[in-house]
Amino acid sequence: MQGVPIEVRGLTKRFGKVSAVRGLEFTAQPGRVTGFLGPNGAGKTTTLRMLLNLVSPTSGTATIGGSNYRDLAFPSRNVGAVLEATSFHPSRRARSHLSMIAIAAGIDRDRVQEVLDLVGLSADAKRKVGGYSLGMRQRLELAGAMLGDPGVLILDEPANGLDPQGIAWLRAFLRHLASEGRTVLVSSHLLAEMAQTVDDVVIVSEGELRAEGPLSSLAAQVRPSMRVRTPEPARLVSVAKDARLVPTEVAPGIVVVDGAVPEQLGPLLASNQIVVYEMVSEHRGLEELFLELTTSLGGRS
């Protein structure tokens, strides 16, 4: 099943006086896992629900392959969605829940067993969903999303409730889906768990786009920095400032120089004959990148 692009253009949603999403623009491409990242309350869920016609936008468009979700001839066969692990009748059995979807979507009932096998719930298929753990419910949601073998997958915090083994399985599963050419858009506020999964990232905060692009190129946008241990911190700060760098003595004898790379800072300190005991590049993970983008660049509390 080949995916189609997900395109969001000028998307805005206001709930009364509260702007949940403001002029959001991004694209998720087929064959790639796109991480839709942001802290809680950033507008991720509202955006995904607008994509799926559950919430109507105040303005702007959210399309899948150029069409609104409600205009798709067979929505469940084109788009699979995992939104929340609570949208089940607790007295309904897992197999019945999936059969209910299959009947309405015109999907062969044999497919129910296939997706139960796919998510590892076959042994529990006759149990009532009310007795399921959160992780099992997430798997059932995923099974429902995969029923129509869709080209587009939209997942809202799918790792919630999964144990480490389940998260590892989910990562591999999403990568596999993208490798088949499907479009995978997955939201999360836990960026570390996404780093090993996503190709592209869309970072939002307070309803606005903060960054978009391949994960690798985004990391390069972050200002580099060096941590230096020296017996002459005051001189180092002075020299660095003269070189238009941003030094901060974070501890006695330890200076972090923002904006510096080894090829620049090394010769600079050598030419000024500053004694250096230790000099290392600061390694910034995705989590720090995320914090920088959603707080510093955001500028609002």
Binding site: T45, T46, R49, L52, N53, L54, V55, S56, Y69, R70, L72, P75, S76, A81, L83, E84, T86, S87, F88, H89, P90, S91, R92, R93, S96, H97, S99, M100, I101, I103, A104, A105, G106, G144
Partner: protein
Amino acid sequence: MIRVLRSELFKFRTTPGPWVVLAVTLVLSALGIVAAFVNPGFGVSFGAPHSIGRLRELVGAGYGAVGIVGPLIGILCVTGEYRHKVITTSLLVTPRRGVLLFAKALASGIWGIVLCVASFVLVAVMGVPLLVSEGGSVDALVRQIPPVAPGLIGAFALLAVFGVGVGALVKNQIAAVVLAIGLSLVLEPVLVELVYHFFHIELNWLPNQDAAALAGGLTRGGQNGPSVVPNELLSWWAGGLALVAWGVGTALLGYFTTFRRDVT
């Protein structure tokens, strides 16, 4: 549309609520059957019904349930989805909300018919043997099926559709159930009496009055039997049309005010 309707009927079969409503229907119908054998007056006696009116009461023993279980089934069909958030799944599969609501109305109407047929089956397996044992005539009973059955089936189905409208308007399940049962058992009878007492106007177009009119062969009591409802009812077809209007009206109102709202 057919797929969505089939899915809605499947939902009925796979949750306990509709089966509980069926059980309530059977209990109330059983009481109705027993009541048809009770001869009122001085020194209440138990015996086979002979008058046309009493025989019709026996055929339509489920009439006592229709005002409660009819709306209840429609309400459960809509509000149960909001209560358990299944509405999210339903709208992902069927994003056109009008189609989904229409399918729910049809499915509820069909389940209403199932409830009515179940009450008839109970009459056959409980009422008929009782009638025979008390020396009554089965032929006389069978002759009263045509005047009673179609109207009663229609009343069950259309009140269920009305329930869908109420559920679409009031998404909170408890509030909707209390509203419907309160309307049926308390508010409507009191309102009818009060308005007639003070203004001499028959409020015979309210939902339960319409259901009574639709089941006219039963409620008007035939040639010499007692009437179940003393008020002046609409004709059966006018009552049926009024009940359709209640169902369509509340469903449209619910669709435009509540059902189309964001599902967050």
